[in-house]
């Protein structure tokens, strides 16, 4: 009882303090903040009176006002993103107005960004013990990308962001923050938009490449609406998100509108994209017997130059009480494969209203319609590129009298030109994301916030295969699938902060989070179609299916922050979390975290110390935290022993599912420790952010085989451990800061070591050659290799063909040793900006499955060597490539690459010219994305992955649409 009483007493004490402060006499502090180089006013600078909760932000003309500053000698500090903080000591008399102006030096280091992700309530970065990255709208816009994932590529240390294919509408992305943290429960981060948990699944619903990821639903967001993105990477930062946060959290904030006169922005972009490379095909003009024949490179017919038109506009404005943002966007893209395309139309309205001085209501509404037409590809016989890999190049796919010939060889392939011309697969997504938030601040110290979020979409997908087009479906097939996905979240938060002494600030927060998710899929299909009609009703033999999954997650959390002398910060927090997916006894889990941050350079002695003579800023930080992970929605009922339909003539019965229910199921759990430093040098014009992390995921979920004599084959169970250890470096340097020239360089470097520490099942292979085994990284390549003699030379059989090993061994690792990026931005005068981003991945391998098929089935250039005349030194013995087909070692290639990810030049028309066009500003941009790739890899692109977002099956290249090389011309006007 005693500790509780003490706690209550101290709580009461805090509540009493404001009354003491309120009784003091006050004065006014006001002033103006300007840029140290250009002399221009600076907006959004936070001006605070140290030792008090008083704070104000500068307006567009750089002015601020602090109306009630307690009298006495006060230290006033101005801090803002992109500037070194400045501090002045003033004497405030009762009823006096003191003017304090600041001139801020631009800085590469910034500890002043106010962030909210992973913490209960807004907090300055300097107080956090974990690293957090905030990307602003300028950075996102400069990328010229049409999806959020693409816009983040190359900008974040500790993030491996891979475009899995070059399909229109984004192409499908995988985001790995600090490595892979799960085996089958997904490794994509949790995405939150304005407090709404949003769905980022990548289901295609019809067979367009069984396990590929043609588009993930984050592609529904218009990057133009985004104000900033905050990224936290692991459990140490994300503990407050409980059992959904193992893979980190990406929180997206949309534009809320700024007070002031209404501002109109209009932007138009046009871009073209083309496949960057062609595969080398067999164009040898003779067959094996030496007879002349015609060969075709069908890449000329199945690829085209794609194009994209993007129009977006917005209007924003408001006053002290109300702000609004109204945005709309329309993107129309055609892919590099004919008849593939993607359209996105979106509209957003954000409103913010101060109802009474203490209550602000905020609403956000976003409606999106995404429409795609995709061509099948990847690991299935319907694929357009797939058919090319399997078909000898002398086969003519061109229609004869309207009939498309089908290749005689292969596993029942359709004619790819027929597929492009006559098959259809429209996808239509109608999505609404809405949020309502109330923030009530009865006093400067106390705040309540409640958020209600909704993300709902209906995805309608059809696939039509005409009669006589696919050998396996001679009578044609029509499939129609509807997926209805809804997420509702309801979050509450209360924060109370107090300064019992000038040197001590205490903030207590408590909150809850409730999430309900439901995914319903209904499908109808039919075969034996009547001609000319595409819908299911055209079929004589119908089929149908339905599934419904519901998930609920509930969490309560509390956090205590201690700010000692505005330079030493401690945060301790715990979340109690439960999910309906887990067993009732295992459901409630606690996820604690603790962090410390010490801004050493704010110590008075620092400037005179040895370090202080070299460094302008130094912050040390450390954080330890726990978070969890839930399996995918399709496994939401794994705690139950379930029974499946078993039909007997005349009767319908049930029989046990082969997967046994596991009432002891619990979340995957991650423990993460991160230690880091933020260093500023050369007057903060050089900054280094360095972080070491060590993550251990235990209770990994996987299917464990059961003795089949029990009547089951497997159970879904917590069975393993995996670690990720790594370092992240982000270096920024303002090389030149001059009114006429500004040059800034940003470098990121990330290194991660993944290792399976424990696995209570036998090692196994997933995908084609990705393997799981203890002591190895997740998904390492494993397969048969060349038999070699003592000197290491490849052993050949009597006919001169290579010999495949009987057993298998490790052949490579799809996980890169390190990834990095180099960004240079140059501003010339007021009008001209240049930007070049190089993005690279080093030491990761790729399984070139496409080449394996090309060689074996005679379509690739390598096969020409088997056709050469006898005696030619380049000739390969007949059957050489067929023998090599079994040797996976041959096809695991170094997938290291450097990409010219972004390059752009922008020219802002002079103010006079713009004014003549009645615009406030007008800017023209010429930009390119993925223009060039430096790599030794022999396929289309080492960056793609056949298996989309899957976690273990990484680095597989097989008949995937190549990522286009894009040129873009855009114009942006503000009124």
């Amino acid at each position: 009882m005693a500790p509780i009483r003490r706690f209550l007493a101290s709580t009461l004490l805090w509540w009493c303090v404001p009354a003491v402060l309120a009784a003091q006499e006050t004065g006014v502090v006001r002033g103006r903040v300007t840029h140290g180089v250009t002399g221009e006013p600076v907006a959004d600078i936070r001006v605070i009176v140290e030792g008090t909760p008083l704070a104000a932000a500068t307006t567009a003309n750089g002015e601020y006002l602090l109306p009630a500053v307690p009298t006495g000698t006060r230290v006033v500090t101005a801090r803002g993103v992109g500037y070194s903080p400045a501090r002045q000591t003033v004497s405030v008399g009762a009823g006096e107005t003191v003017t304090v102006d600041f001139t801020l030096r631009p800085a590469a280091i910034s500890l002043s960004a106010v962030v909210v992700t992973g913490t209960a309530g807004p907090v300055e970065t300097r107080a956090l013990g974990n690293s957090i990255t905030s990307l602003g709208s300028a950075t996102l816009a400069a990328s010229q990308a049409t999806t959020v994932d693409a816009a983040m590529q190359g900008k974040l240390a500790g993030a491996q962001i891979i475009q899995n294919s070059g399909n229109p509408g984004g192409g499908g992305f995988s985001v790995r923050l600090r490595g892979t943290s799960s085996i089958i429960s997904g490794s994509e981060p949790l995405y939150i938009v304005d407090g709404v948990i949003v769905d980022n699944s990548s289901a295609q619903l019809v067979d367009l490449g069984a396990r590929s990821n043609l588009q993930n639903r984050l592609a529904d967001l218009n990057p133009g609406d985004i104000e900033r993105i905050e990224v936290i990477r692991g459990a140490a930062a994300a503990a407050l998100y409980g059992s959904r946060a193992n893979n980190g959290v990406v929180q997206i904030f949309t534009k809320r509108g700024r007070p002031g006169a209404s501002r109109f922005t209009w932007q138009t972009k046009y871009s073209t994209g083309e496949a960057p490379r062609r595969l080398a095909m067999n164009l040898y003009p003779f067959d094996l017997a030496g007879n002349a024949l015609q060969r075709f490179d069908y890449q000329h017919w199945i690829f085209q130059t794609g194009s994209l038109v993007d129009n977006s506009g917005s209007v924003e404005g408001g006053d002290d009480r109300s702000t609004y943002y109204l945005g709309g966007g329309w993107t129309d893209e055609t892919g590099v494969i004919p008849k593939s395309g993607s359209t996105r139309k979106s509209g957003r309205l954000n409103l913010s209203q101060l109802v009474v001085p203490t209550l602000r209501l905020t609403f956000g509404a976003n409606y999106v319609n995404t429409h795609n037409e995709f061509e099948p590809n990847g690991e299935q016989s319907n694929g357009v590129i797939t058919a090319l890999l399997f078909t000898p190049t002398n086969f003519s796919f061109f229609p004869v009298n309207g009939v498309y010939p089908k290749p005689a060889t292969g596993a029942g392939f359709p004619n790819p030109l027929d597929v492009i011309e006559n098959w259809t697969a429209p996808q239509d997504v109608g999505r609404f994301i809405g949020s309502a938030r109330a923030r009530w601040t009865p006093s400067a110290r106390l705040a309540f916030e409640y958020t209600l979020g909704y993300d709902g979409y209906q995805m309608d997908v059809r696939q039509f295969i005409p009669r006589g087009s696919l050998p396996a479906e001679p009578t044609g097939r029509s499939v129609s699938v509807t997926r209805d996905s809804r997420i509702v979240n309801s979050d509450g938060l209360a924060t109370y902060s107090v300064r019992p002494r000038a040197s001590l600030e205490l903030t207590t927060a408590a909150g809850f989070n409730y999430t309900w998710q439901s995914i319903q899929t209904t499908s109808a299909g039919a075969t034996d179609l009547i001609p000319t009609s595409e819908l299911v009703s055209a079929g004589a033999i119908p089929s149908a299916g339905q599934s419904l999954f519901e998930l609920i997650t509930l969490g309560f959390y509390a956090q205590q922050s201690v700010n000692f002398r505005d330079r030493l910060y401690f945060i301790g927090a715990v979340r109690g979390d439960a999910s309906s997916t887990f067993g009732a006894k295992q459901r409630w889990q606690a996820y604690p975290k603790a962090s410390v941050s010490y801004v050493v350079s704010d110590e008075p002695w620092f400037a005179k110390s040895v370090l202080g003579r070299r460094l302008s800023s130094l912050r040390l930080r450390a954080a330890l935290g726990y978070a969890g992970n839930q399996p995918s929605a399709g496994l939401a009922y794994s705690v139950f022993d379930s029974y499946v339909k078993a039909v007997n003539s005349g009767h319908v019965g049930v029989v046990n599912s082969l997967t046994r229910g596991n009432p002891e199921l619990r979340p995957e759990r991650q423990r993460e420790l991160e230690i880091g430093a933020d260093i500023g040098a050369r007057n903060d014009r050089l900054s280094i952010e360095a972080t070491y992390y060590n993550k251990l995921v235990s209770d990994l979920l996987l299917f464990r085989p059961l003795a089949t004599s029990e009547g089951y084959t497997q159970v879904f169970e917590n069975i393993g451990e995996m670690s990720n250890k790594g370092i992240e470096l982000a270096v920024r340097s303002i090389n030149v800061e001059h009114p006429r020239l500004r040059w800034e360089t940003t470098v990121t470097y990330s290194r991660n070591r993944n290792r399976i520490e424990r696995l209570n099942v036998a090692p196994f292979t997933a995908g084609y050659a990705n393997r799981l085994d203890v002591g190895e990284p997740v998904g390492f390549f494993f397969g048969r290799y060349y038999e070699r003699d003592g000197s290491g030379a490849i052993r050949l059989d009597a006919l001169g063909r290579p010999i495949a090993s009987a057993g298998s061994k490790k052949l490579g690792d799809p996980n890169p040793a390190w990834i990095g990026s180099l960004l240079n931005e140059v501003q010339l005068g007021h009008n001209l900006r240049f930007r070049v981003l190089l993005d690279g991945s080093f030491g990761g391998d790729v399984l070139n499955f496409s080449r394996r098929i090309l060689e074996r089935f005679a379509a690739g250039r390598e096969y020409e060597r088997e056709l050469l005349p006898f005696g030619n030194p380049d000739r390969l013995p007949t059957g050489y490539l067929t023998a090599r087909f079994n040797i996976f070692e041959e096809y695991v290639e170094d997938g290291s690459f450097v990409k010219l990810r972004e390059v752009s030049a922008s020219y802002g028309l002079g103010a006079d010219l713009a004014r003549r066009l009645k615009a406030q500003s007008l800017e023209i941009t010429l930009a390119g994305r993925n223009l060039y790739t430096w790599t030794d890899y022999t396929g289309y692109d080492p960056e793609m992955n056949l298996f989309g977002q899957l976690t273990v099956e990484r680095g597989n290249d097989f008949a995937t649409v190549p990522i286009p090389r894009t040129w873009m011309l855009g114009i942006r006007a503000t009124y």
Partner: protein, 444 residues
């Protein structure tokens, strides 16, 4: 004031949402729903029969491929070809894994019913419950009985045991006979009522389905014969009403598994030796198979005639089998004239509506069947043609000692499946190596 609007909202949200974490699975019934309701138990009893029906191929195919009955086509999976050719067996082959998995799933279903159905005695009513109990004993006995004709040792006490112990064939056989005894006792104590017969028992109106009583006695006859108890085998065979047939029916929704793998997938088909080695007048051949010309297979293959449609029923036992068990039992009891008459009855069986093999052959002269070896040889010969593709030929090869490379069956047993070995440390060493043993192999 304002406090009073927001705080209740927040509090209400917590209150409404907090107690909602126990969801049910709308996609499939859970164990609780199946075991705890009348409808669940009835559906599970239907599922028991459907499960066994789908697994009938797992008894018929491996035995057929190991013996001279069935062969794999060129298009078949490598594992089927290897089982046919006698290449070293791999313990992850479907032919090794599926019989184990399939039969033990049937056993689990039967066990679930035996444990949970009696809890619903009031809801089900005595006559329905009795049918459920009897059919559960029967199907558990059939599943385990088929297992001992494929694997040398098996676990019999598997219910909720993650690593059950294995028992030898004698113990397993005793257990199977005890299960059949229990089925008979249950059936006699409370005859299953009309609900059981019309809505639970396999078979639709107009389609002969499972006949519970006669199937129990036929199985009793089959396993008493395997156990070497001729008297009991004869008594059981005599209790079977030969005019009644007992079939497992199939339909477009539940496709005949033999038709599926043989005709639809085109993987496993009858070897033509059955047709070529039969007496020319044997009417069973045209009923069973048809000549076909498929090139490129390891052996020349025919086509199934008996199982040529989705809905073709599979007999659970053949009345010819019961007649031949009786003949063999009489022979073992030294009643040569009785045995002779009984085996000739199989040869001369002809006409009648029953959709089952009928040889329509003349009886053999007494002089050709006047010694034990002569009668026994004729019984085996009739078993080959009468019981084609029922899975029973492998056991006949074993008991005749015709096992080994080049003989009637090229190996004695299947390997124990890897899936069981991975988890269950009680799995004994494989009874014979992966490679087929030399002739003559010692099976028991």
């Amino acid at each position: 004031m304002r406090n009073s609007t927001l705080a209740p909202l927040v509090a209400a949200t917590i209150a409404v949402t907090a107690c909602h974490l126990d969801l049910t699975n709308p996609n499939a019934p859970t164990e609780k729903e199946v075991f705890g309701t009348r409808e669940g138990i009835i559906a599970l009893t239907v599922g028991l029969q459907a499960r066994y029906a789908a697994g009938m191929m797992d008894f018929i195919f491996p035995g057929g491929l190991v013996t001279d009955e069935l062969g794999a086509t060129q298009a078949a999976l490598a594992s089927y070809k290897d089982v046919e050719s006698g290449a070293p067996m791999v313990n992850t082959f479907d032919a090794v894994e599926l019989p184990w998995r399939s039969h033990f799933r049937t056993v689990k279903t039967a066990n679930d019913l035996l444990v949970h159905a009696p809890d619903l005695q009031v809801a089900l009513g005595d006559s329905t419950l009795s049918g459920i109990i009897a059919i559960s004993y029967l199907f558990k006995a059939m599943a385990l009985g088929e297992m001992i004709q494929q694997y040398k040792e098996i676990p019999i006490d598997t219910y909720n045991d993650p690593a059950p112990a294995f028992v030898n064939r004698t113990t397993a056989l005793t257990y199977v006979l005890a299960l059949l005894d229990s089925a008979i006792i249950q059936f006699r104590a409370v005859p299953p009522g009309s609900e059981f017969n019309t809505t639970i028992r396999a078979g639709a109106p107009g389609v002969p389905g499972l006949d519970l009583r006669n199937t129990i006695f036929a199985m009793m006859a089959r396993y008493q014969r395997i156990a070497g108890n001729p008297g009991a085998a004869r008594d059981a065979a005599d209790s079977v009403a030969l005019a009644v047939i007992s079939n497992m029916p199939f339909s477009d929704q539940a496709i005949n598994p033999i038709h599926d793998l043989s005709n639809r997938s085109g993987y496993v088909k009858p070897v033509d030796s059955l047709r070529l080695q039969a007496e020319s007048a044997d009417a069973r051949i045209a009923y069973l198979v048809k000549d076909t010309t498929i090139a490129g297979n390891a052996q020349p293959l025919d086509r199934f005639v008996q199982y040529a449609s989705n809905g073709a029923a599979i007999p659970i036992y053949l009345r010819g089998e019961v007649m031949l068990i009786r003949a063999e039992a009489l022979l073992d009891l030294a009643d040569l004239p009785g045995a002779r008459t009984a085996v000739n009855a199989v040869r001369t069986k002809c006409g009648g509506a029953a959709d089952q093999p009928k040889a329509c052959l003349p009886a053999l002269a007494d002089t050709l069947l006047d010694t034990d070896p002569e009668i026994r040889a004729e019984i085996y010969r009739q078993r080959r043609f009468e019981l084609f593709a029922t899975g029973l030929r492998w056991e006949d090869a074993r008991r005749q000692g015709l096992v080994g490379v080049g003989s009637l069956a090229h190996r004695c047993w299947l390997l124990y499946p890897q899936s069981e070995r991975n988890v269950n440390l009680n799995v004994p060493a494989d009874p014979e190596p992966a490679a087929s043993p030399a002739f003559p192999a010692t099976c028991f």
